[in-house]
Symmetry: C2
Subunit: 345 residues, 2 copies
């Protein structure tokens, strides 16, 4: 007999939001903050970035319960000058701080052309693109950045040296199309190595990571246990020092998190149609393999949104569903309603 | 008998500047613009980025002589709002447009916290770091970006898809130390492949480039003739789509060139000592090989400046000296005076 882990399950966005909000209010978060937080998690799962979605709900819940993340308070502006602001997130949920800062950046950009807001006292804010997209929806260019926990080696170091600090850059073309770059500055996310190990792979591609001495390895277990990731570019000879430089750049910009909005109307006219043309032309390049068309940043996520939407909104594996049901039980909250889909091959 | 190509030659910055200014004024550039342009070339050679220094003088001269680059005129501000400006470079030398824009960005940053200047109608501006460094010297964070000619494939494309559009980010720590990221968004610069071929290597590392069908190759000749570079991250499985995304990001920001200055005093206090601590800590990570210490962006260039300075200012191979002497003769300008150094091994 098939176990629940061998199936996929679907639900809709409203039901998932109801569930997340109930979990968070149950532990003392106010409903407005819980709602913002739910949107952050759902954004990631809709796009197939499960490492940044409901998968992390338990961690966020624990952080609130333990007091690591504050359950009451508001972000505050510490300094404001021209296009800039410095914000103390007052240890609120990352989504609350991020939304506060990006809203401010958008207002500043509308007034001064640019809004550049740096936050301290924030927490894990999920997918960086969630915030950049808010600016893009207003016709602006949105960027966001975050420092991350150390995970990544310098191509030369024998120890972990830096976080794989993500950067995102989102701008809209026409008819809802967009360029949506949202990337960690390691060659691959840690989640990819974890998945490889989970499905029993003995080897991952060269360049993904190193063992505990900084020596490149293909063994996912050595990378995950005591080892770490390589920066974008991998080894020194293939440009790993550039990815390491990008990791450092994000730390210099943030020392926390950073949110930028830019009004493209301050520069050349016709930004959105010109961007659309650029997206169309880039996708139009002849691929090596006709089954693998040339993509622009955001296309894989767009494909996943389409797939999820066609199944009602969100899709999860059985293991994730079991975990959420367990959390519901623990918190005394009505579980999220899922529909069982096809059995996995 | 040793040929001149087997020696290194040195000169000093003042003499090289005299030579470049005489070349450029001889073909009709005004002396102020020629001086700015000389500084741009010398900046690159001092740092060992010979592909962006005097090596290109002939190309710039030809562009002025042929009228591809204008020899008279001034950059003009087309739009200005808050932190932003849009500039028409009026087809002046890249150094002239870049200096104009970064000066403006610095002024805007001092007034509004951020200066964000985009230029159209510019020309090849040399090393991006030349402009970012100007902001850094004022205690600001400097960034500059440029679109480049198509050279780079998407990890999926069978044809050249984009330029390896450089980005730079420079900020000062203490006592003149700095973080100076200045990188093209390909795995390596085309110049590295050219050098490999020139010294007779039959193979370059996997990940540097592709043949004319977009298929990864180790053959430098195939990469250079009809093929091209891979983006930072190399193949798709090692994150090449991220480097490709960065190339596109720079194009979206620029459509020409972009210059940003940020006043760090608008955010957390003590930016420069904190940056210095970050640089020191990063360099302090235990290296795999004690002979190869962990570096931060700007360190290799710093080492080259020290070496050049100890030899009077600038160091060149014989082939470069011969080429410059030939140009001097052609233009009827007094050649740059070089001192012959050691014979190359």
């Amino acid at each position: 007999m098939a176990t629940p882990f061998q199936f996929e399950y679907s639900t809709n966005v409203e039901e998932m939001k109801r569930f997340v909000v109930e979990c968070m209010t149950k532990i003392g978060t106010n409903s407005e903050y819980a709602s913002q937080f739910a949107d952050q998690l759902i954004y990631a799962d809709q796009r197939g970035h499960y490492s940044h979605g409901l998968n992390r709900l338990r961690i966020y819940v624990n952080d609130i319960v333990s007091g690591t993340t504050a359950k009451a308070g508001t972000p505050k502006i510490l300094k404001q000058k021209g296009s800039t602001a410095w914000v103390d997130g007052n240890n609120q949920l990352g989504a609350v701080v991020g939304n506060f800062c990006m809203k401010l950046a958008i207002e500043l950009a509308k007034e001064h052309g640019i809004g550049w807001v740096v936050a301290k006292g924030s927490n894990h804010f999920g997918a960086a693109g969630f915030y950049s997209t808010q600016a893009a929806r207003e016709g602006l260019v949105g960027m966001s950045f975050s420092s991350a926990s150390p995970s990544t080696y310098s191509p030369r170091s024998s120890e972990v040296a830096i976080g794989n600090n993500p950067l995102s850059f989102v701008a809209e073309g026409e008819n809802g199309d967009n360029f949506a770059l949202d990337m960690a500055n390691s060659a691959v996310a840690r989640g990819k190595v974890e998945v490889a190990l989970k499905i029993g792979k003995k080897e991952v591609p060269s360049g993904w990571g190193v063992d505990g001495h900084g020596v490149p390895t293909n063994d996912p277990e050595k990378i995950l246990i005591g080892g770490g990731l390589l920066p974008l570019g991998c080894k020194e000879e293939t440009g790993g020092y550039k990815g390491f430089g990008l990791c450092m750049m994000v730390d210099v910009m943030c020392g926390g998190q950073c949110f930028i909005a830019v009004d493209p109307e301050c520069f050349a006219d016709g930004f959105h149609p010109r961007l659309q043309q650029f997206l169309d032309e880039t996708r139009g390049h002849k691929p090596k393999d006709p089954a693998l068309p040339v993509l622009v940043a955001g296309d894989p996520e767009r494909a996943h949104i389409e797939k999820s939407t066609s199944h009602g909104g969100l899709i999860y594996y059985g293991a994730q569903v079991e975990d959420l049901n367990g959390l519901a039980k623990k918190l005394g909250v009505q579980p999220c309603h899922f529909n069982q889909m096809a059995q996995l091959k």
